[in-house]
Subunit: 451 residues, 2 copies
């Protein structure tokens, strides 16, 4: 365990990269800077390259200008753009001043893209060749492009005079080819590209589908703009899944690691949804009040309210998470809603039948085991009560399943995020209707005997 | 839209790769084979390389032996191993017979690993060099290694006589280096490796942390076994997130795309959890029955049961999803439970206070708006009733938050998957305790006036 926050430890610079990494989430900015400066330069570089853009920006802004310049120059343009985006507006210009003219221009191009589209993910530095070069010329040309700090890229892209992408050749293919062959004869021309404005989630799906290590980014005119690599996509896929999971749980996306989100910020991400759910939940008060007379006549019905409505919520939360995830993976499109509807009606009825039978069994078993002689309605009509409960569960489970399965489609149709069909929202929506179903079934089945 | 299932269409081979991709999820095996055979060979290869291991195995087993052999040989050993694992046991030997001796040996090594550990993900084919070669010798050696169908790998790994990994050099670095330099002087020796038995989720975290395109896999003696590449990790990260999301929704992991899971299999993934939740939910029946007398005296209390217990479930599902995801990302370890406990007690109290105040306000507003003169208890004691409801909500919300935050830690401590602390499970657990808190607060506050 690291205790970087005690003076004793700081006076004694035995801080390793592992210690600092361990303590990072709980350190304030000052503590991080202190710890960072006690590392060897190799360790500092290791830690610096692992940091998120937000942490990098925070750390950089606390360092003296000379060190800022040094660290900024260690970053490729795509990471630079992320750091600048994470820094306060008023600091951005000062940080940009540390860069050389060419890098500043590249970084400014990237800053024009939103960080969740292909243009914001891409690296604008990549190896370029012309189709009519020979392989030997190409290798010589690449060897002379000894520009420092280019991110490791393993493909060279073949562009025509207008920078339109013609094909791609791996360094390996170049090395294996005959020296006098033309690049155009060695290159692969049937290649996957993405438009610069494609959403990062869609870019992630393309990487998953094609198992590629790099995909070139082109603008509307087919001119190559940069390269997105699979290592960046690993981060994208993790972030998108994290956002969806947090939304499914009924929170707004946190946008930072759990332990690094301040208390107030955490509160702001969680309270609004809880308030919306609570206010929607008051509809249940109205629903029960509406059936007050029925409840007065058969008090027993109140016992089963939480059990019955929660079975609707549970079925709904299964269905909504399955549909939300299938949409995110590109397995379901809007037009598939009818197919999903049919599947989930059947699933809801089947699952409801199992739970309904279980409900009936539990009431019957309860009657036989407890045999409470004061409990007149249950004594005389336990099969009827059990039937009402069982049948309600079938209805509530089917309804909950459909709400859960179709709400993500409805949200998407409205241009909203399907993941907002969170488990708590689906449960709350099916609670209200669940009560109506429950009491209606009870009235129909029990009127004449208990009502 | 594709209609591959009609005879008319099949007689007329105008099937494109896009048509088949579109119709794939709804086609049976026969339809898929038919569609596949109507593609041009380039299109067939495109589709084949996109398929999941399960679909590849199914398709292959329906093709004649000569075609089986052809397609199997198009696959690298790691994909081959996945296909063989997806095929029925009795077919495995027959498929292995199609491979040449060297590939069969490589594939058998991979089959010995579980598919969710580093050894099961890695490609055993990679470029090897010796540290004392010169750069020119290394390039010549690599050019002679013209083995066909090696997956595109952009690093050469430097091994000693015992196959222990000494360093790595990118093809790019080799091309840029002076021809007479030694490989050992060009290579990077400070590199990230993974043990062959490391879980794929941990491998994914390493890729995310270090932004690498490939990580070498070594055995317990430091001997290199193969390479895991970032494109495979994109799939791993997606699969792991899918599993977690499905578990959070209260389903067992589906292990196949939503539309491709058969009805019966879908039922088997969903019914067991619903049954467990329903049976646990019957505890709520007991809880309400226990407080039957209180409920008889103040019927009004029944109106608020769903609202109050669901606020506990909502808070709990927020907390559990945040903690589950932070654990999966490696942001929280078991020993962090105390820190999480403290944060979530505070969060639960703050969120509960907001909802409690809202509850009190709603009762007061309801009293003023409805002014129902027959509703004696609410008329005379609306502030007391509102207070009881508000205070219960604070308690239920705090308790639900803690259950949600700590259940994933408890599951992990027991060696179970934290993601099993699903939203429905947390809601069900907090329903029972929520009822106890609600009725206890009501008894304490209202005894003497309404009780």
């Amino acid at each position: 365990m690291a205790h970087l926050d005690t003076d004793d430890e700081l006076a004694n610079p035995r801080v390793s990269a592992a210690d600092l990494r361990d303590a990072w989430p709980v350190l304030d900015t000052e503590g991080r800077v202190e710890g960072f400066r006690h590392l060897t330069s190799a360790e500092a570089e290791e830690i610096f390259l692992e940091l998120s853009a937000i942490d990098r920006a925070q750390l950089l802004l606390s360092l003296p200008p000379a060190e800022q310049r040094w660290w900024l120059r260690a970053l490729p343009p795509d990471d630079l753009a992320d750091v600048l985006q994470a820094a306060p507006d008023e600091e951005r210009g000062r940080l940009l001043d540390h860069l050389d003219e060419a890098t500043r221009r590249e970084t400014n191009v990237l800053l024009a893209y939103s960080e969740d589209e292909a243009g914001g993910l891409m690296n604008p530095r990549y190896a370029r060749l012309r189709p009519d070069m020979t392989v030997d010329e190409a290798i010589g040309y690449l060897r002379r492009q000894t520009r420092e700090r280019v991110e490791s890229i393993y493909y060279a892209y073949v562009l025509d005079q207008e920078s339109r992408l013609q094909g791609v050749v791996s360094f390996r293919q170049l090395m294996m080819a005959r020296g006098d062959a033309r690049v155009r004869d060695v290159m692969v021309s049937d290649l996957v590209t993405v438009p610069d404005e494609m959403d990062q989630e869609a870019v992630g799906r393309l990487f998953a589908q094609h198992d590629l290590l790099a995909i070139p980014v082109v603008d509307a005119e087919g001119r190559m703009q940069g390269v997105v690599t699979a290592d960046d996509i690993v981060d994208v896929v993790r972030e998108e899944a994290t956002e969806d999971i947090q939304k499914i749980g009924g929170t707004s996306a946190l946008e930072a690691p759990y332990l690094q989100v301040g208390f107030l910020q955490m509160f702001r991400k969680r309270a609004p949804w809880l308030v919306i759910l609570f206010v929607s939940g008051t509809l249940t008060v109205g629903a029960i009040r509406f059936f007050q007379d029925t409840l007065d006549q058969i008090k027993l019905l109140a016992f089963f309210v939480p059990l019955i409505i929660s079975s609707g919520g549970n079925c709904g939360s299964q269905a909504s998470t399955l549909v939300i995830r299938a949409m995110a993976l590109g397995e379901l499109r809007l037009r598939d809603w009818w197919r999903v509807f049919l599947r989930e009606v059947a699933a809801g009825l089947a699952l409801g039948a199992v739970l309904g039978a279980l409900g009936l069994t539990i009431v019957v078993a309860w009657h036989h085991l407890s045999g409470d002689p004061t409990n007149v309605p249950l004594r005389d009509h336990f099969l009827l009560v059990g039937g009402a409960i069982g049948l309600s569960v079938v209805g509530v489970a089917t309804w909950g399943t459909l709400v859960g399965a179709l709400l993500p489609f409805a949200l998407r149709r409205l241009g909203l995020d399907p993941a907002s069909a969170s488990a708590p929202l689906v449960a709350t929506l099916s609670d209200v209707t669940g009560l109506v179903i429950y009491f209606s079934v009870a009235i129909v089945l029990l009127s004449g005997t208990l009502l």
